[in-house]
Amino acid sequence: MSLLEVERLSKNFRGLAAISDVSFAIEAGTITSIIGPNGAGKSTMFNLITGYLPLTAGEIRYRALRITGMATNRIAALGIARAFQIARPFRDLTVFENVRVGALFGKAGPRDVEATTRRALELASLAALAEQPASSLTVGQLRHLEVARAIATRADLLLADEPCAGLNPTETAAMIDVLRQVRTNGVTVVLVEHDMPSVMEVSDRVLVLDAGRLIADGPPKTVATDPKVIAAYLGTPDAA
């Protein structure tokens, strides 16, 4: 049984198809990247899985449980967490308090809250900043905070939306490290990412979306040489 199964998923915005008929499954313990040109529907996919947007057709199952149509907070409580691309910290709270909210809620509820919070901060290498107000962090640190808060929910599945976008090479390397750590701790990771070197380096598997359709699915090496993928990114010769 796969951890997450997406079956024939479609989403229309006022008749415009953002996702059409996409199916895939995510195996536990893997890092999967979803890539694709701008507007391919990557972030929409996350919005659908987390219940933030209602879907038009299809079904999403998590541990064989149908989660389509569930409230966002219930889905979170089942163990799916999300880190936003544009970090959305609780600005007036400290880093510790931010992460603590994840530990208090999320999956399994309030057990060992302080310890869970500390562990998540360690994992995202934020322990030194625990008492800082979230509003004082840099962009890179805020991304770590997003991941720490998501991990603190004890999620089994982390959806990370472009965690490396806009980061410099050092910060990107640090983020990749954190994501590996997360996986080592038994959390399955799905990434949406633009930064190709990071994708190639970290992923076990890559899904490619183009204009709402799944056009490739496989190990990074295979996908990178897939003519359909190259065409989607560079345009077909006759179209260009």
């Binding site: 907070n73 910290p89 609780f90 709270l93 909210v101």
Partner: protein, 315 residues
Amino acid sequence: MTRNPVPVFLLVAAAVVVLAAGPLFLPPFYVRVGQLMLYSAGLGLAWAILGGFAGYASFGHAAFIGVGAFTAGLVEARFSTLPTALLLPVGLLAGAASCAILSALIAYPILRLRGTFFAIAMLGVSHVCAEVTNNIDFFQGSMGLNFPPIAPASWDPANFFYEVYLAAALLILLVSWQIRRSRFGAGLLSIREDEDTARMLGVPTERYKRTAFVVSAVLTGIMGVIYAHSLGYITTESVYRDDTNLSLIVYSLLGGMGTLFGPVIGAFLLVFITQVILGRLLDFHLFATGLLLVILVLAAPGGVAGLLKRKRAAT
């Protein structure tokens, strides 16, 4: 903030003893000022459970003062044969119940609105309740409603109500404190900061908002019931007051939005300013409150608590 709970606890306990002993040494005028301070502090704390913690600033909490007060009055009139000592508990129960029912009924629709829309819709609720009370004879809003004297014969009524206000304010402080340090409180704060993100982290935002709304309404209603008894006679105008609607926000702004003691500090300060410093200049109250509001927004958005924090950070 709560890293050294013992000294804070001792400080509060000492303050309570001093406050409770107040009527023994204060002249009558200051007992009345004290009553008003405790009443305001209680209301400010109740308001802040929703407005300060969850960030849903209501412009219409006087609705619950009025509903609580009028329900209590009407119910107590039906139980006029009861011993006097039981009247206030009966009134409190009735007032609290009516506020709970009203707030639970409107919670679902009104909490779908955010920010300013919620604030104004609550003002609407307050005005509608006032008009209904005033224009339907059953509620006797325009004619007025009498409350029997409930203070024990041996006790000066002013001193008696001072102690009742103190007890109620302490109860509300205790409730806020328990909420602030609980999981529920952390959830409310996360709603204030970013509701969508809170939901993504598994916070049951809708249920928490509704609960905070009902708790805040019930506690406000309790204060309203006591207020009505201390006045002895109420009309629509004396309980559904727009300046109350405003003051509740100013207390938190002045003391520090979202902090535990902020509303208490704010209420004490504002009552002191209007009643003692400007006591003789009744015409000037509105102007002073307005000016204070302008200065606060422009110069000290964090209130007194914010100023203290900034000072501590600077040293």
